[in-house]
């Protein structure tokens, strides 16, 4: 084929499309050529000179990040020349680097550490005093440690090319070059600046939020989906001691590329909230009693069998598809009824200019689209409150899933024959329910969210659930099974399979298909409120 070329890299033949760089071609044969200034999401200035490789016939070592592969080329990434040049560059980096790894946040995930360990000299020869820049507050969430900087300019290029808000620049020249803000105007007020902390290959740009909080090697990484808006950015939850320590974007070119917004990134403390509902609470004539699941559910099934009247339910767009579908199955099994949800909505989208399919969306919840696809109805205002007058006045069964009812008083649905609340925390309106059943957050369970464009994306459990809290799909699934004589789903994928069977929009999807990248539903349903 004319558009494919074949070359030899480190003795292995590889075919790549015309125009592929040597760096990408080398990746294909499993060679990770060290690099700093190159990043898949940015332009390539070829200035760190770390990706130098030997190309047979070329007079000089070539930068792999910008050199296009040619047919028949013979490239070595590990020849004596290439290693010598890279060893030199790494030693140059260390001439002025403070080597303060023991107190550096990046330690353990630092590319300078990795590369020097792999290819560098075992001791430095520079005996000269080091250049000192000190620290600078760049505004927003970012601190700058100038001495650690390797001058790759990824941060400058991100702000110029991707966020397209010029806030950083290189000042001075030569080895006096340093990254700086424009006078006092730093990064304050920009919405994507924490991405430069991810981009920084060393510990020069660090997050104030994460500063000295945890060592990289103590963190567990769990793939997940950002719950802060309907974009559904692919993320990783970094956890330690059963607490979320930080969120990091996970690459997915179809959703968020390499980026995520600062709003989503820093909005995680609620996951670590300590005051959780930990055991099923059941109210009877004698007051409220905590009990085990078996006892509580037996009582609840009995009560549901006794109660007359229709069902009204309130769900939450923070609940997974599986949870919402299980709720719907329960309502169906009880004779059907209206299910509503409330979702806060921001005034504007915050679009990432350099990757315009990514934005902090207006809907500030991860699964509004999923709720719509499952036939739930949106109520209430843009602040996520109100709209529950109908439910509150309902005389039959009222079931609430996930909505904390923060705007409701203790008299919420006081006229209902039976009130069941599935939630993570208590509150005035929650405490008066007949049954309060503790459920897990998205960080403690497996499940899926459907993002604004109808992409179903999986998330995985990163934390242990507190006390007796269980996923809502499991609790609701057990109730349905009890009422209909069917089997209780035992795993999230089974709960999802039931959803798929019941809802055409999701037909054909399975956990395996969705994988870590997501899959788009085959139905387009307009978002409520559009």
């Amino acid at each position: 084929m004319a558009d494919t070329i074949t070359l030899t890299i480190d003795g292995q033949e590889v075919s790549v499309p015309k125009g592929t760089t040597l760096l990408k071609a080398a990746e294909k044969v499993g060679k990770d050529v060290p690099h700093y200034c190159y990043h898949d999401g940015l332009s390539s200035p070829a200035m760190c000179r770390l990706c130098l490789v030997e190309v047979q016939g070329a007079p000089k070592p070539m930068p792999a990040c910008v050199t296009q592969a040619m047919d028949g080329q013979v490239v070595s990434t590990e020849s004596e020349l290439a290693l010598d040049m890279r060893r030199g560059v790494l030693e140059f980096y260390l001439v002025n680097h403070p080597l303060d790894c023991p107190i550096c946040d990046m330690s353990g995930e630092c590319h300078l550490q990795d590369y020097v360990h792999e290819e560098g000299r075992d001791h430095g020869r520079s005996r000269e005093p080091k250049r000192v820049f000190g620290r600078d507050d760049f505004g927003g969430d970012v601190l700058f440690y100038g001495d650690r900087c390797v001058m790759c300019t990824r941060c400058v290029r991100f702000m110029n090319e991707v966020e397209q808000d010029q806030r950083l620049c290189v000042v001075e020249r030569g080895n006096r070059s340093v990254i700086d803000t424009f006078f006092e105007r730093g990064l304050e007020g920009t919405h994507w600046h924490d991405n430069i902390v991810d981009l920084c290959p060393v510990g020069a740009l660090v997050s104030k939020d994460f500063l000295h909080k945890a060592r990289a090697w103590d963190l567990d990484h769990t793939p997940s989906v950002c719950p802060s808006c309907s974009q559904g950015c692919n993320i990783e939850l970094h956890t330690r001691d059963n607490l979320v320590q930080r969120l990091k974007p996970r690459e997915n070119l179809e959703v968020n590329a390499f980026w995520m917004c600062d709003h989503g990134r820093l909005n995680y403390e609620w996951i670590n909230h300590g005051e959780r509902a930990e055991a099923p609470l059941v109210r009877d004539q004698g007051g409220v009693k905590a009990m085990g699941w078996k006892e509580a559910l037996t009582l609840l099934v009995a009560r549901l069998g006794d109660v007359e009247g229709t069902v009204k339910a309130v769900a939450s767009p923070f609940a997974s598809n599986e949870d919402l579908a299980a709720l719907q199955a329960l309502v169906e099994s009880l004779g059907g009824g209206d299910i509503v949800y409330r979702m806060p909505r921001a005034e504007d989208e915050i679009v990432l200019k350099g990757f315009p399919t990514l934005a902090r969306r207006r809907d500030l919840a991860p699964n509004g689209r999923g709720a719509d696809l499952l036939g739930l109805r949106r109520v209430g205002g843009d602040d996520g409150t109100g709209g529950l007058e109908d439910v509150s006045a309902h005389a039959g069964v009222v079931i609430v899933l996930g909505d904390g009812l923060a705007d409701q008083g203790a008299d919420f649905a006081s006229g209902a024959a039976l009130r069941v609340h599935l939630g993570t925390r208590s509150g005035p309106a929650v405490a008066t329910a007949d049954f309060v059943l503790p459920i897990t957050t998205f960080a403690e369970q497996e499940g899926t969210f459907t993002n604004h464009e109808g992409r179903v994306q999986r998330f995985w459990p990163a934390l242990n659930a507190p006390g007796l809290a269980r996923p809502a799909w499991l609790v609701l699934g057990a109730l349905v099974a009890e009422g209909t004589g069917s089997e209780t789903p035992r795993r999230a994928d089974e709960a999802f399979a039931r959803l798929v069977a019941a809802h055409d929009a999701f037909s054909g999807l399975s956990y395996d298909d969705i994988g870590t990248r997501g899959a788009v539903v085959n139905d387009t349903v307009p978002l409520s409120g559009d």
Partner: protein
């Protein structure tokens, strides 16, 4: 004002009117046959102009010595985008002072060359990128450009020929690296003066993203003469591969330092002894930098067999560069001299590429330490290894330039390094 020093060995083609302020005036220049070459160029057409320059064998006088006519022929023949001619007047190589003189004394010769070159490469706009420190030269040149516009030698419909060529004089801010052609383009566009990665080459993607050609002041100043007299005429001087005359900027320990226009291939010894009146105070020659501070040093023995043309200097292991001959006598402290040059490069490094940014600064520190008597023999090995890793590893050749004098001085004058190291050891500083 007479020009300081002249020699009867000179062949003054470009420098004929050095020292004659009248030449700066447009009417004098025209009286002395000026702008006739431009007229002829318009008559014979672009391809003939390029062919004539190719025939002359004129090579780039900025340092690389690339044949000018060949360079011009890389430009697209059927322009689909605007083309630009960039005149590199950012003469900053330590030891070089020829372009400044060409601009000061004969600005119209340069403007005529620029107009011919612009015409040849089908550019409608030429920029003259002047070094920031060239106050007088820039003023003289800007006045000349103004006069040329006023008399219809530049701008729209030049001399009624229907050709439009604008000339803009742009003043840099004083950075060595802006003399590198792609750094010059970035600076001209208002960006940081940092060299660009090649490819793409300027003839494809140059200034403002358009096809561009960058030529040195001296190269362009020679063009009117070649067009007037023909390419063969220019070949009467110089060697087969390095034809023509060249301005030699001689500085250092000679009796008569200055600018001398000589045919290429002129023996270095004769330049020092005859043209420049010999070594100052009758001292012995120790070393010569033949082509500006970025080329390897020559020792006295090598100087004796060095002819000053591109190939001749290469044959003794250095480069002609821009022919800035820096002569050093027996009293010169080579280590200090090299340290001072490397320090210059450390100061002027743009800071993009790691080997250059860190290497030049580190080298300076090591050399300073040796100079102060606190060096060790291992330092010399470190310097040589650094030099190797700084050569050919960066976007432009600034770091190669910094490494060249270090390597050549350690090879040729190792005793001086060792003497400093040993003296330091003796007095216990090390």
């Amino acid at each position: 004002m007479a020009y300081p020093y002249v020699s009867d060995r000179e062949v003054r083609v470009l420098s004929k009117y050095f020292g004659d302020p009248a030449q700066r005036r447009l009417d004098t220049y025209v009286e002395r046959g000026g702008y006739q070459a431009l007229k002829k160029a318009f008559e014979i057409g672009q391809d003939a102009v390029i062919d004539e320059v190719k025939t002359s064998g004129l090579r780039g006088r900025g340092g690389a010595g690339f044949p000018a006519g060949v360079k011009w022929s890389f430009m697209p023949k059927q322009p689909t985008k605007p083309h630009y001619l960039l005149c590199n007047a950012d003469e900053s190589e330590p030891g070089t002072f020829k372009d400044r003189e060409l601009m000061r004394w004969d600005p119209h010769q340069l403007i005529e060359g620029i107009l011919i070159a612009s015409y040849a490469i089908r550019a409608k706009h030429a920029y003259i990128y002047c070094r920031g420190e060239f106050f007088e030269a820039t003023q003289v040149l800007a006045k000349a450009v103004e006069d040329a516009y006023a008399k219809g030698y530049a701008g729209a419909d030049i001399m009624g020929s229907g050709n439009d060529i604008d000339i803009t004089v742009h003043v840099g801010a004083g950075a060595y690296i802006c003399g590198e052609e792609t750094g010059l383009m970035n600076s001209l566009e208002g960006r940081r003066g940092q060299p660009r990665v090649k490819p793409p080459f300027p003839a494809a993607v140059g200034a403002f993203g358009m096809p561009s050609t960058v030529n040195n002041v001296e190269t362009l100043s020679a063009v009117p003469h070649i067009i007037t007299h023909g390419g063969q005429w220019y070949r009467q001087w110089g060697t087969e591969k390095s034809p023509g005359t060249k301005l030699f900027c001689v500085s250092g320990h000679v009796n008569k330092p200055g600018n001398y226009e000589l045919p290429l291939g002129f023996p270095l010894t004769e330049l020092i002894e005859d043209v420049c009146g010999g070594m100052r105070d009758g001292k012995a020659l120790k070393a010569v930098i033949p082509g500006g501070s970025s080329v390897p040093l020559l020792n006295a023995e090598e100087c004796g067999r060095c002819n000053l043309d591109y190939e001749g200097v290469q044959a003794v292991g250095s480069m002609l560069g821009c022919a800035s001959v820096i002569v050093m006598d027996e009293d010169t402290d080579i280590v200090k001299q090299v340290r001072r040059m490397v320090q210059f490069y450390a100061h002027e490094s743009c800071g993009q590429c790691t080997p250059c940014r860190e290497g030049t600064a580190w080298m300076t520190k090591v050399l300073l330490r040796i100079e102060e008597g606190r060096g060790t023999e291992e330092d010399l090995d470190t310097l040589l290894e650094m030099s190797r890793q700084m050569t050919g590893t960066t976007i432009c050749v600034l770091s190669d330039s910094a490494a060249a004098p270090v390597v050549s001085s350690i090879q040729k004058f190792k005793d001086e390094y060792l003497a400093l190291i040993r003296r330091g050891e003796r007095v216990g500083v090390a």
